[in-house]
């Protein structure tokens, strides 16, 4: 890998930043493009992530709407903001509060997986609801963009090394 890309390090702030920027760019089509087309007895509709949440809310499925909203909209944005904050912190000459920053990193590392909810949902519905003329559910291109955002944010978190905070803090492992 290094012969092809001299100086490239898999686990570095630069790699984490590049992956985060790519995820942030893909977040636009992920939210703009439709993720699911449904046709129930002739009532066809195409939903983006947000319009899907609104529809669930309109059907009085508030808890489900809240789960999908948090997993598919709040968490990806929070994760990108959090990674941005950590990357900014690591650029400071001295780490101010490495313990707090490590906890933020651990939280981002844990919550990222829940964004996969919409991808699993699209796959399951697409496999189950295939009744020809009566009812069909088809995943659309937005789910590819959204899935890519999830993968890139997970990879960005893995590429970020929280030990950097402690090296800047000056305390060496004993």
């Amino acid at each position: 890998m290094n012969r092809l890309l001299p100086g490239f390090q898999l686990k570095s702030p630069a790699t984490a930043a590049a992956l985060s920027v790519a995820a942030a760019i893909l977040l636009v089509p992920a939210n703009y493009l439709p993720v699911l087309s449904t046709d129930f007895s002739g009532q066809a509709r195409t939903d983006t992530i947000y319009s899907g949440v609104v529809e669930l809310w309109r059907q009085n499925l508030w808890a489900i709407a809240a789960i999908v909203f948090i997993a598919s909209i709040v968490i990806p944005i929070l994760k990108l903001l959090g990674l941005g904050w950590l990357l900014w912190c690591v650029r400071r000459p001295v780490a101010r509060n490495p313990r707090r920053e490590t906890k933020i990193y651990a939280t981002l590392d844990f919550i990222g997986r829940w964004s996969m909810l919409d991808v699993f949902l699209a796959a399951f519905l697409g496999g189950l609801v295939q009744f020809g003329q009566l009812s069909t559910v088809t995943p659309r291109s937005g789910i590819v963009a959204f899935g890519s955002v999830v993968v890139l944010t997970v990879l960005a978190t893995q590429a970020f090394d929280p030990r950097l905070f402690w090296r800047k803090h000056g305390s060496s492992p004993s």
Binding site: P98, D118, F120, L125, G127, Q130, P173
Partner: protein, 209 residues
């Protein structure tokens, strides 16, 4: 007590700790960043192995038995664990199909196998040593084992669909739920939150509290 030179490294801050055996209920936290490093066995020292083997045994019915059956005006459609993966693959979304297959099927099984091998009794030490390179490969991929998210997605889908089609939950889904619980219990009853194979001594070693 563990071997005198056994150590455990915090994977968040790199702090190295001297190892010590923990009693049930005891927790070992990193002295520097407060990350949980290890805890005493909550359900007995064999619990991770027992639950990992249980999870592996449940993987087969999860994959082969019907997950959910949907009915509409006399027409019935049954799906299994990987029906959605096949549908996505057929729709040309191959990368997403592979992602769902890996996160919902392959990695949970690999993680269960990894926990089972790590916790094998001492008489299987040779086997443990032989598969250590494979365990090291699986370790960074553990993030991708997320069957609990798949279970939540199926529950969301069932609530969403119940007003438009008749639904019947099959034994495949219950097996998958049980496999997910077994995986979570096996993970949480393991003594180590980091892989003891990463220890400087190279031997599984308890952590200091």
């Amino acid at each position: 007590m563990g071997p005198p030179d056994a150590t455990l490294t915090c994977h968040f801050c790199g702090q190295i700790h001297r190892a010590a055996r923990l009693e049930p209920g005891e927790k070992a936290r990193c002295v520097r960043c407060d990350t949980l490093l290890a805890h005493g066995p909550r359900l007995g020292r064999d619990a991770p192995l027992v639950f990992a083997v249980t999870g592996l045994a449940l993987a087969l019915p999860s994959a082969l038995l019907p997950f959910v059956t949907a009915g509409k005006l006399g027409d019935h459609q049954s799906c299994k664990l990987f029906t959605g993966v096949a549908a996505m693959w057929g729709d040309g979304m191959r990368a997403m199909a592979v992602l769902v297959l890996v996160c919902g099927g392959l990695m949970p099984i690999a993680l269960l196998a990894s926990i089972a091998v790590r916790n094998l009794p001492d008489r299987f030490r040779a086997l443990r040593q032989n598969v250590r390179p494979a365990l090291r490969l699986i370790r960074p991929l553990e993030h991708w084992a997320i069957p609990e998210v798949q279970v939540l997605a199926v529950l969301v889908a069932l609530v969403k669909l119940h007003s438009v089609v008749n639904l019947q939950v099959g034994p495949g889904f219950w097996s998958y739920c049980a496999m997910t619980v077994a995986l979570l219990v096996a993970q949480n009853s393991s003594e180590y939150d980091s892989d003891p194979a990463d220890n400087a001594s190279g031997e599984p070693a308890p952590a200091s509290s």
